[in-house]
Symmetry: C3
C-alpha cells in the first residue's frame, strides 16, 4: 500500500489516508481504501475502524488536476468506483469513526458522512460540500447520505451554498458530531471506537442495516443516472474552465 | 395578467401575487401564476425568482367563498391544478425565494414551502397550515414538502395544531429561514436571489433535482388519491358548515 | 381484562398497562392491549386515547424471563403480534397521547414512539431503546417509527448507544415532547387529549394517514425479514447468555 496506511491496536483498526499534502483521491488510492476496508470487514479481531488523514487535510476530495487528464470513460469508471465505495462504507457492518484531522472537502466530506460518527479537530480546519462553487454537481448517493446525517433542509443549505464551514458551524448543522483539540483527536476517536466495539457486533450490524438499508436501496436506484449527469456537467464548457483553475500544492 | 405581476431586474425576476386584499387563490389566478413561472423557466436571462405578495398578505390560500360556488368536478380540477403547480414549483429548476410580506396561510404556506428559501417580515404576520381548524385535510404533496422542510415531527406539530405561528415561532420550527423588518424584505430576498444566481445554473438544477426528485416521485404516487379524500372531507356536512363562516374582506 | 385497564371520561379514553410491578409485555397482555384499542377505534364517543402505565414503569418492554420459556415459533408469533400492534398504533386513526408515568424501556419505548405525543414525568424515570446493551436488535418498523419521531441521526445515537435517557436528555433528542411533575402528568395528558379531540376527527385522521402512511408502507416491506433476523440474534449463543441475566422483580 502506498496511499493508505492501516494499523491495529486490539480490536480497533485505523485507516490513514496518506497521499501528498492533501490526500486527494485518485483511482489507485480509491482502490487501496476499498481493499483496506474489505480486509477489515473480514478480520475477526477488528470490531471498529477509525478513518483519518495524514497532515493538514482529512482529504481534499477528488484529485481534480489528475482527473482532468482521464478520458471520459475512465472518469465515469472513477466516479462509479467512488460512489460504490461510499455506499459500501455507508453500509459497512462494523462501526466506522471519522477522525477529521483537517480540511474535509467535497469527496472527502462524502467519505466522512458515510461513517457512523464524525469527530473533528477544533482548529482552523474547514468542512464543505463545495461542489457548486466550481460548477460541479454531486451524486444521488452522496445526497441521500447527507440527508440521512443532517436532514433535508440542512442538506439544501450545505449543498446550495457550498460554504466552507468551521467545525462549530458544521456541528450546528449536524455535519460533525464532536469537536476536540487536535492533540486529543485520536484519543477521542479511539474512545468512541472502543465504546462501539464493546457492544454486540451482531446487534450493531443488524441495527445499522435497519437504519441505513432503506436509504441505500433508494440510492442504488438513482446512482447510475446521477453519475452520468455529474459527468455531463463536469465536461460542460463552463465547469471545465473552472476546473482548470484548481491547483493542488503537493 | 390581472392577478399576478412579474418584473425583472438583471437576472432576478419577481412574481407578485396581486388579487384583492388577501391574494386569495382562485383558478384563473393559479393559471396565471403557472404561466408566469413557465415563462421564467424558459427565459435565458432569468437565473433566480422571488415570489411575494402585495399588501398585508402573502396569500390567504384558497379563495374559499368563491370555491364554495364551484361544482365538485370543478373543485377537483382546481385542486389538481393547485397540487400540480406545487409539485412543479418544488422542482422548479431555478432558485425560488419566497419573500413573505404578510400573512401566509394554508395554500399560501404550501406555495412558500415549495420554494428554496423563505424570508419573512418580522412584523405581526402569521404563517400557518391551519386546515385542520376548519375541518379540512391537506394533500400528499403538501405533506411531503412540509416534511422535507421541517422534518416529520415538526410537520405533525404544525398540521395537528393548525397554529397561526409568529415569524419567530415559525423559524424555530424551520418553517421560515430568515426574518427581517418589512422595509428590508425585498432587499434581503434580492440579496439571497443574487447569491443563488451567482452559482452555476446547471449544478444548482442538478443538485436540486437530486435533493427533491425522490420526494416528488413519492408524492406523485399518492397525490391523486389524496385530492379525492380532500374533496370528500371538504364536502362533508361538518366541514361544509364551517367553510360557510369563512369570509374574505376584499 | 386482567393486564390492561380502560376508563372513559367524556370523549377521552385512558388505557392503563397494569401487569406486575413493571408492566412487562407477554403475549396475553399484548392481545389485551390490541383488543382495547380495537374497541376504542370503533367507539363513536371516544375521540382521543391516553396510553399510560401503573406504578413506577410505563413499561419494561418485553417480559424477557417469560419469553425465554417460549419455543422459537411461539417467540416469532409474539414478535409478529408486537410488531403488528406497533404499526396499528402508529396508524391509529384517532389521536393517542403517551403519558409516560415512569421507566419506558425497549418495547415500552417502541409503543410510546408510535403515539402522537409523549408527555413524561420529570422525576427519575428513564427512557431507552437499550436493546443493543443486551445484544438484541430491533425491528424494521420500530426503527422507521423512531426515525419519524427524532430524525435519522438521533435515531442512530439512541440505538447505537442504548443509553438510558433522563426525560430532559430525551426531550433534547425529540424522544419526549413535554415534561411535567408526576402529580400533573394525567392532567397534562388530558389537556393534550381534549385539544386533539376538539379538532375535526375526519381531518385529523386524513392528515395522520398522509403523514404516516408512506412510512408504514415502507415498514411493511421489511418487517417480516427483520423479525426473523431479530429472532436469529436473540437465539445466538452470545445474546442468549446475556438474556439469562435479566430479572424482573414482580
Amino acid at each position: 500500500m502506498s496511499f493508505v496506511h492501516v494499523s491495529k491496536t486490539g480490536e480497533i483498526a485505523t485507516v490513514t489516508l496518506s497521499r501528498g499534502k492533501v490526500n486527494a483521491l485518485n483511482e489507485p488510492m480509491l482502490r487501496e481504501i476499498r481493499t483496506s476496508f474489505q480486509d477489515l470487514e473480514k478480520s475477526d479481531e477488528v470490531r471498529a475502524v477509525i478513518l483519518t488523514g495524514r497532515g493538514k487535510f482529512f482529504s481534499f476530495g477528488f484529485d481534480i488536476p489528475e482527473l482532468l487528464s482521464y478520458s471520459k470513460d475512465d472518469f465515469i469508471r472513477y466516479l462509479t468506483t467512488f460512489a460504490n465505495f461510499c455506499s459500501y462504507l455507508f453500509l459497512f457492518p462494523k462501526p466506522v469513526i471519522a477522525a477529521l484531522n483537517g480540511h474535509t472537502i467535497a469527496g472527502g466530506c462524502m467519505l466522512a458522512n458515510a461513517c457512523d460518527l464524525r469527530v473533528m479537530v477544533s482548529e482552523k480546519a474547514k468542512i464543505a460540500l463545495n461542489e457548486i462553487t466550481f460548477g460541479a454537481s454531486v451524486f444521488a448517493g452522496s445526497v441521500a447520505i447527507l440527508k440521512f446525517c443532517v436532514g433535508s433542509r440542512n442538506a439544501e443549505t450545505i449543498l446550495y451554498s457550498g460554504t466552507m464551514y468551521s467545525p462549530d458551524e458544521a456541528a450546528r448543522l449536524g455535519l460533525v458530531d464532536q469537536i476536540v483539540p487536535a492533540e486529543n483527536l485520536m484519543q477521542a476517536a479511539e474512545k468512541a471506537a472502543v465504546d462501539f466495539a464493546s457492544k454486540s457486533a451482531a446487534a450493531f450490524s443488524s441495527i445499522k442495516g435497519l437504519l441505513r438499508g432503506p436509504i441505500a436501496e433508494e440510492m442504488a436506484k438513482r446512482e447510475q443516472d446521477s453519475l452520468h449527469e455529474f459527468a455531463d456537467i463536469w465536461y460542460s464548457e463552463e465547469t471545465w474552465a473552472k476546473l482548470q483553475d484548481i491547483k493542488i500544492h503537493s
